[in-house]
Symmetry: C2
Subunit: 277 residues, 2 copies
Amino acid sequence: MNIGIVGLGLIGGTYAKSLRKYPYRIIGIDIDQETIDYALKENIVDIATDDPKTVLGTIDVLFLCLYPTDAIAFVRKYATYFKSGMILSDVAGIKRYMVDALDMYHDDNFEIVYSHPIAGSEKIGIKHSNEAIFHNSNFVITPTKYNTEEALMLIETLAKQMGFKNVSQISDVSHDNIIAYTSQLTHAIAISLVNCDDESLDTKLFIGDSYKDLTRIAMINERLWAELMLKNKDFLLRRITMFEDELSILKDALASKNSDKLHQIMADATIKRSKIK
Amino acid sequence: MNIGIVGLGLIGGTYAKSLRKYPYRIIGIDIDQETIDYALKENIVDIATDDPKTVLGTIDVLFLCLYPTDAIAFVRKYATYFKSGMILSDVAGIKRYMVDALDMYHDDNFEIVYSHPIAGSEKIGIKHSNEAIFHNSNFVITPTKYNTEEALMLIETLAKQMGFKNVSQISDVSHDNIIAYTSQLTHAIAISLVNCDDESLDTKLFIGDSYKDLTRIAMINERLWAELMLKNKDFLLRRITMFEDELSILKDALASKNSDKLHQIMADATIKRSKIK
């Protein structure tokens, strides 16, 4: 089986590395010559090219490891070069937008399995790609009515081979609703926490692990994340409001010196968080 | 030199372990017999007792590794047993409250050096004490007008011996202002983030490292943290408001689909956070 990976960045590079130990031919596609050279030199891929047309006719499974808008642009540009029966998958952190944008291809002779590997790093680029980031991670597939069981099963198998712990299926709407909370809201919070620093004070001498952990993801790939947040705006705005309401409850307990209420809020959080490994 | 440690919990246990490699006699004081037995069995202390009166007359430096109110209660109960010239220090995460409560002792024959080791864990108890949590961490001393250079220097030296990277001095007011941001606000956020989960959805299949990192400290010692937050209420309320204002800016940029503004917010956060190691 020939597996194509478009975009050999952090995620694409990790897809390639994770699948390398299986008997697949891994074909990398990237617009950056330095990335291509690195992927070949480090034996991360079998073949690498900056010209998709030269290899698309041989690819059985194609992973688009690109920003959402770039992934859509790639399909629009190269769909006619896809091998008949090819399975296409993506990695976008928002699914309704992808499903809507690519719906027009549902009659074509390739099948799209929309996926979201919930893993990453604040670092970017193939040099930081690392199989470890997939271990114990979640992989979500948002099936459409056009999907075949075979294609879903194939992507699920590949995800498990890549080292993902849980592979689950859910609707694109539910995906976008939940990911607005677990991923986009967390980034919005980290960014706001860093930006509300009072820089007249020497904050850095007072920083412990808590602050470091809560703000690590504030070092953010702004093009990717602005896109993800804007394309999931309504769910994210709702989740921000839910968070603000919860913070207000704590703030009110504090302002009214309601120690019992504070204890209860903290006990609730401890129980809820303890359920997550 | 005889060093006494009152409260052999996570922090007290780590103080003892960190100072163990130096030629001090470490005397542990705890109300829990199981903790005393464990400290002796594991050779974390030279002596351990649940009766402070039997050892206080021999102690040169006494660390109160207790919750703020317990630390104050300890001094009130046992001040008359302190060895003349003893240096007393604490570990409380709030300093104005400690300084105010213990100000009445400034004429006594012991000297108080108020300290805050900015290190910890979501785990509690001597069994989780671990020297590693002090490495690369910050240690803050809030001197008063009654402090001697010798006493300040002694506590600074002991902090460095314990493995703290930066030992700094600042006023109790500035400490409480900054710590409201770096520590208490981060905990308030983590708690609120966990508590605003929409539990009708299967959130756990969508969780990545970002969410785990941002919520780890939501598993919280409620008695300690309710006390810290309430006793630093005004600074913390102001910091929560500053954070809310910052989050509102992001929310407005999102609601108005202002991509440029979102990029700028993210770029600012990336630069600010990159300055922290």
